[in-house]
Amino acid sequence: MKIFLILLGVFLKQQFGLSAAYDRYVRRKEALWQPFLALAGFIGVGYLLLTFYLRLLNSLHNVSVQLNQPGMIVLLGFLLAQMIVLVFGLFYLISIFYFSHDLELLVPLPIPPQIILGAKLGLVVISEYLTVIPLTLPPLIIYGLKQEAGLLYWLLSPIIMLLLPLLPLGLAGIAIVLLMRFTRLAHRPDTVRVILMLIFFGITIAVSSISAFFDSRGVVPDEVARLLSGGPNSLLSIVGRRFPPALWGALALVEPGAKAGLNLAMFLLITALSLAGLWFVARHSFYQGLLGSGAVPKKKSRQASGPLEREMLISPRPVLAALVSREWLLIIRNPIFAMTAAQALIIPPLLLFIAVISGNSLAQLRQLAALPEFQLWGTLGFAGLVAINPIIASIPATAISREGMLFWISQVIPVAPRIQLLAKLVFTLVIAAVIGALMAVVLIPLGLPAKAAGIGLILGIIFAVPLAALSIAVDTLWPRLNWVSPQQAMKGNTNNLIVMALIAGLAYLLIRAALFMNKSGWDMSYIISAMGIIFLLLGVGAIAVMYRLAPLLYLQQSFGIGKGAETTAPARVRDGGKLRIRFSLWDLFYRYGRIILTGLTIIGLAIFLGREFIMGVTLEYEFGPDYVKFQNVVIPYEELVEVRLLEEVPPLSNRVGTSIGNYRSGTFTVEGIGRGRVVADDRTKPALVLFTNKGFYIITPDNAAERYKEIMEKTERMAE
């Protein structure tokens, strides 16, 4: 036990940088503002997220009480936490059990394998608490307070909450140890990562396809009614069947008396069994899997080549071509980089494809394509897609970060930094062009006019210039070079967030500009030309910025060799024998811009998503004297061209918006009507359809029939 605790302590210090933080902030008392700023940021973002989560839970609780299922939020919290732990824990456990660098140090030590694995599991469990506690504590508190739970509930709930991640991690651990024992995957981290990414990729596609399928089917009210009629918390067992231990944990808290005891016993037993199982397999199989029967023979790529072949392989190229080729090889030969890029390059077009071919979207797209306006919007939309694709794939925003420990090579080669950046830009444009051409090949048979695809592709490459140059400029300012796993360089790189936020702002302005031109009666060819010119100018500007920042590459610390100190800021000047930091706005931006912009983006995203969530579960309709208002929509009665009363909300499909439980908020394809905005609860009957010249809205106020009469009377009076 003592060794276990010592190991766990060391792992925690290493994982969370506790010793480094102690040394810096307590012992040397350096940069004390950093922990305070981090704490303030954490509290700020945490407060925002928590507020949204609490409001969401509150709404869900109110609904679940109405349905006589008060324990639902506890179960949902448990299920969500355990599922997240199971999926992400699997990734985490594999990397920490088999691919962490400390194994070389630990294996030769006289420590039993199950102790090493146990301490590593402990580290993962503690790390997972950072997810589990924020997800499960709020529903536990809301349920406890609103249902006036007894003392036993308050005593048991924290214990069950802390035990929650043990079971999924235990099960995932057993699966991993056995998998590694009987395969040689422990020697092939890249292969494992690719397999995991493919699994993740598969899950994304499956969830999307299933969701599209159910969206197109709509809800089946009779089925829901049957489930609800089973008495208090009857729905829990149906939902919880997907992962029974979460159900046992929840029922141990929300059921009365003996039933609770039984569920608690089941929960504790199964958790203990999973840990015992892991202990057993770890003891017998951990080292066998880790060490295998010796190193996997290294695959030779080619056999010895002769001087003639070598001459071909080493023939001279222009510098730019050599640099672009380097970019390509470094992405394509690294499975993680290749998969991350491919995932982002292929998934959005694939989802688009699924969305188009499911339901009746294909016919709609073809109808749309026949409209004269579609030439303009189709062209611009396709161009946007071509331009944004490599950005979503994180290719330009991580162009320098990807070099990581090998960045020193770029610093010592005799090639100007701006030429190196230009090569990264050219590489991004080539990717945009190739993927754009592939998308055109897929979309033309589906209804995208060939002319729109052709012009869109060329325009898309022009659009990609400023976006890519801007992204590279951001990575030039704040490259993340000290990564260990390639995922940190690409997916975990906050430069992506900053770039996406900047591009979202830019796209908003440009779409408004295009709409304005269209409204002002500009010809389609003028609008397309104007957008092309705007983007060309923006491209020139962005390249100028990128070039201006290029010399910063020489100031970055390379971590690959020698000491890895903090980034050398350009403001470091020598003044009378002592180093002094000259504070200017530029220096502050250079030093802290990344953290500030990332923080602002996260807060903005949290506000946006939170608002969407709340809007999704808040259905409030205000019927004024001459208008109806819901969410952010106000419809004056004078704008209504038709009002219909339907028996119920018709089947919906192809959602763009929120769909939580029976709540629908967003744009849907409504069977028998077309595509329009729905802000409704499926269960409330009847439903109102309000038609205006801009489109239609489906709402479900409590007294829809009365509202219908009221609106009809008012509109008739107005017409008179």
Binding site: R310, I314, S315, W408, P414, G560, I561, L579
Partner: protein, 268 residues
């Protein structure tokens, strides 16, 4: 000629100096060995020369070119081999060498001749088309060396180049360096292997705590210490005597502080 004038570098904003006011001149055609204990400032010095680490103070000039004012002009004439051959391991050996030859603009004929020769010398012809990822540490070191030598630079800056090489490769490598210098090139390398330094270098410099504590030919160093001894003994004597001096100074300072405290107590 490589000239370092008053070069200083600090990693903690001037509290301590990794390199402290370093002045050094290395002549063209010379092999200069840079010695020092761990953490003495060798790698930092080398990195400031090749453009990886801007010095906080001082200038570095190679053949009249300030390496930090005209980095590209200087870099075209300098090759660098780091202590840990961290190179693109997902490229093949040939692809890496080709990339380096491309960016240095080595013409086709020269690159072919040099490559064949270097691959033969280091016995890497068979392994060159394989991914660097599959190489052993020594093989990585060899391919990194080949890449550093293929542009035939005027200045070769090598950080611990011998570590990881087998005895045969070390022998051939030493010959290569001599050949490079005979052709007018300069070599500046750091090493811990004093035996190699003693036999290979025209001059050596010893650095400790960022300061150059000795510099010259072996003869000059022996003459200064008035002892007919090996470089190893000289190195140990120099670094230890420096350490003792520092310790003695520290003790003297502490004693002085104590005496001052006592005096002030008595005054009170």
């Amino acid at each position: 000629m490589l000239q370092l004038k008053g070069v200083s570098k600090s990693y903690d904003r001037g509290k301590t100096w990794a390199v402290d006011n370093l002045n050094l001149e290395i002549n063209s055609g010379e092999i200069f060995g840079f010695l020092g204990p761990n953490g003495a400032g060798k790698t930092t010095t080398l990195r400031t020369i090749v453009g990886l680490l801007p010095p906080d103070r001082g200038t570095i000039v190679f053949d009249g070119i300030d390496v930090w004012k005209k980095p590209l002009v200087a870099k075209r004439r300098i090759s660098f081999l780091p202590d840990n051959p961290n190179i693109y391991d997902r490229l093949t050996g040939l692809e890496y060498v080709r990339f380096i030859a491309d960016v240095y603009g080595v013409p086709a004929k020269e690159r072919r001749e040099r490559l064949e020769r270097l691959l033969h010398i280091f016995d890497m012809a068979a392994a060159a088309p394989d991914l660097i990822k599959s190489y052993s540490h020594g093989m990585r070191q060899k391919i990194a060396l080949i890449a550093a030598l293929i542009p035939q630079p005027d200045l070769l800056v090598l950080d611990e180049p011998i570590t990881g090489l087998d005895p045969r490769s070390v022998h051939l490598f030493k010959n290569l360096l001599h050949e490079h210098c005979r052709a007018g090139g300069t070599v500046f390398f750091s090493t811990h292997i004093l035996d190699v330094a003693e036999r290979l270098c025209d001059r050596v410099g010893i650095i400790r705590k960022g300061r150059l504590i000795a510099c010259g030919t072996m003869e000059q160093l022996r003459r200064d210490r008035m002892a007919d001894t090996t470089l190893e003994t000289l190195f140990l004597e120099l670094t230890e005597s420096e350490a003792e001096t520092t310790e003695t100074e520290t003790e003297a300072e502490a004693g002085k502080r104590e005496r001052e405290k006592e005096r002030s107590r008595e005054d009170k």
